[in-house]
Amino acid sequence: MEYLVHILILIGIYIILSVSLDLIAGYTGLLSIAHAAFYGVGAYVAALMALKFHSPFLVNIVCAVVLSGLLGALVGIPSLRIRDDYFVIATFAFQVITFSVLNNWVSFTGGPMGLPGIPQPTVFGLKISSHLGFLILVGILCALTMSVTQRIVRSPFGRVLKAIREDEVFAQAAGKNVAAYKVFVFVIGAGMAAVAGVMYAHYINFIDPTSFTVMESIFILSIVIIGGAGSLWGPVVGAVVLVILPEALRFIGLPSSVAANLRQIIYGGLLVAFMMWRPRGFLGEYAFQGKEAQE
């Protein structure tokens, strides 16, 4: 039962991560492998504030969201000048730099040793100490994230995002401030990812940079793609499938190192398979059509 709760919490965290990346990559068409950077910044800000200032949990979340949002804006700005492939590289650069900073600024972030002993969160006077309590908190945040996303994508703002994805030049010609929308969607996505980071930090009570690498970014992206980019429930399906997969493997009795690699093999393989036969994933709307590579 404890185990089930643990899985559900992880699924919840990844739902928040993938839905937020879906806004950026699926709805706006800005493929980004920087998401783990936003996730990590959120986690570290919350952890550092809780450990050094003992500030209240809600203050920590707000600060994490704001700072991550700022990083998001930074990442969004290059998207105005560079197209597709090169933009992915730019997000790659941001991800690597962020990881480097987290890993090497030992005096501030603890470097590879990480930050242990992160206290449990206290929301509105209630201390969340049991896993079940945590699950409820994550569940609430999940629902919140999804409803915010739903409101965004069904609004005029969301329509412009999709327009940017489908034909950016046309959207610009129609008078939309494409630049502002792009930066804004990154800020929102980054902020949401930060919330997931805060949850992660307070759940595991220990964070280190290895949870926020390029590979993690690629994993979140895979969830979005396999689940279905450009849809509300696609990322949810993706998160459920890709989180349960390695756990299911562990049940067959495989040693956990083999299981970890097998999980990577499977999700790498799924990525290739989906790209070849169903690029829009399970429930997706967007198949990364973009410009056709020359056949």
């Binding site: 560079i82 197209r83 492939d85 941001f94 390029v214 083999v258 070849m276 056949e295």
Partner: protein, 294 residues
């Protein structure tokens, strides 16, 4: 004096290693029309194949290296034929190709990790690692071979591209694909040949890395990072550009290790990349790319 010449030697050695892999990426990018992360897996495959042949099949070192490269070429051509060619035929965008290559990278590297474990290994042996004293520096045989290979590449590859039939076909393909098709160029065959060359280069880079540094499953990612930065900064068009960029990166990495801790190497490298992308996305020797051409 000896200190400086070792530094220069190290710069040249770093640049050589980066250059070989970056050329492979450049070929894949220009002829394949995509940023191909799978080449990181090819590099890793080269290193591990050579390792297996040397340690488990009792091949002499250089034979192991050569066959390792051949295995890598085989793998590269297989991927090209069964994944990328199929995707292109379906009209996949460069983003889809990129994602597929990412998936391939992840699966292949994880298979290697599962089979060989995460621990580091090496192709080095005592004889090789001691190095030979040259002009006040110590350089190992593989390092010298790497530098020699780079020099040969930088001279011969442009000649190959300009003066052989396949080379010219590849240039035509990279320059204007549809026109190349119309002119009767068998684009799929040309792509396969170039992929073979590029995969071979990636394998060679992997083997050299196997001698010079440790062989670990994630070695491909570091190579990809350096390679991508090099290709972008070099302009993404010419081999000369890549060569210049590789030198610059070699300087950056070695001076950086001197001036500050080696850990910040990646930050500096990618900071430079970002600066280039923002200020001069076409790199040092590239052409300005427009967002849309009517």
């Amino acid at each position: 004096m000896g200190d400086y010449s070792q530094l220069v030697a190290n710069i040249l050695i770093s640049a050589a290693g980066i250059f070989i892999f970056a050329v492979a990426l450049l070929l894949a990018y220009r002829v394949g029309g995509m940023l191909n992360f799978a080449y990181g897996a090819l590099l890793t495959c080269g290193a591990y194949s050579a390792l297996v042949l040397k340690n488990y099949c009792a091949f002499p070192v250089f034979a192991a290296a050569a066959v390792g490269v051949i295995v890598t070429v085989g793998l590269g051509c297989t991927m090209e034929n069964y994944v990328f060619r199929v995707l292109r035929r379906k009209g996949a965008s460069s983003l889809v190709l990129l994602l597929a290559s990412l998936g391939l990278y992840i699966s292949l590297v994880s298979i290697i990790a599962m089979v060989f474990g995460e621990g580091s290994k090496t192709l080095r042996s005592e004889m090789v690692s001691e190095g030979i004293a040259v002009l006040g520096t110590r350089i190992t045989l593989p390092q010298m071979l790497a530098m020699a290979t780079s020099v040969i590449l930088v001279i011969c590859l442009p000649l190959f591209l300009r003066y052989t039939r396949i080379g010219r076909a590849a240039l035509a393909l990279a320059s204007d694909f549809d026109l190349a098709r119309i002119a009767g160029i068998h684009t799929e065959r040309v792509r396969l040949y170039i992929t073979a060359i590029a995969a071979g280069l990636a394998g060679v880079a992997g083997v050299f890395a196997g001698f010079d540094r440790n062989i670990i499953p994630t070695m491909g990612m570091s190579a990809l990072m350096a390679g991508i930065v090099t290709v972008v900064i070099g302009g993404g068009r010419s081999i000369a550009g890549v060569a210049l960029a590789a030198m610059a990166l070699g300087v950056l990495q070695n001076l950086g290790a001197w001036a500050m801790s080696a850990q910040w190497e990646n930050t500096v490298t990618f900071g430079v990349l970002l600066a280039f992308l923002l200020v001069r996305p076409e790199g040092v020797m590239g052409k300005r790319l427009t967002k849309a051409t009517v």
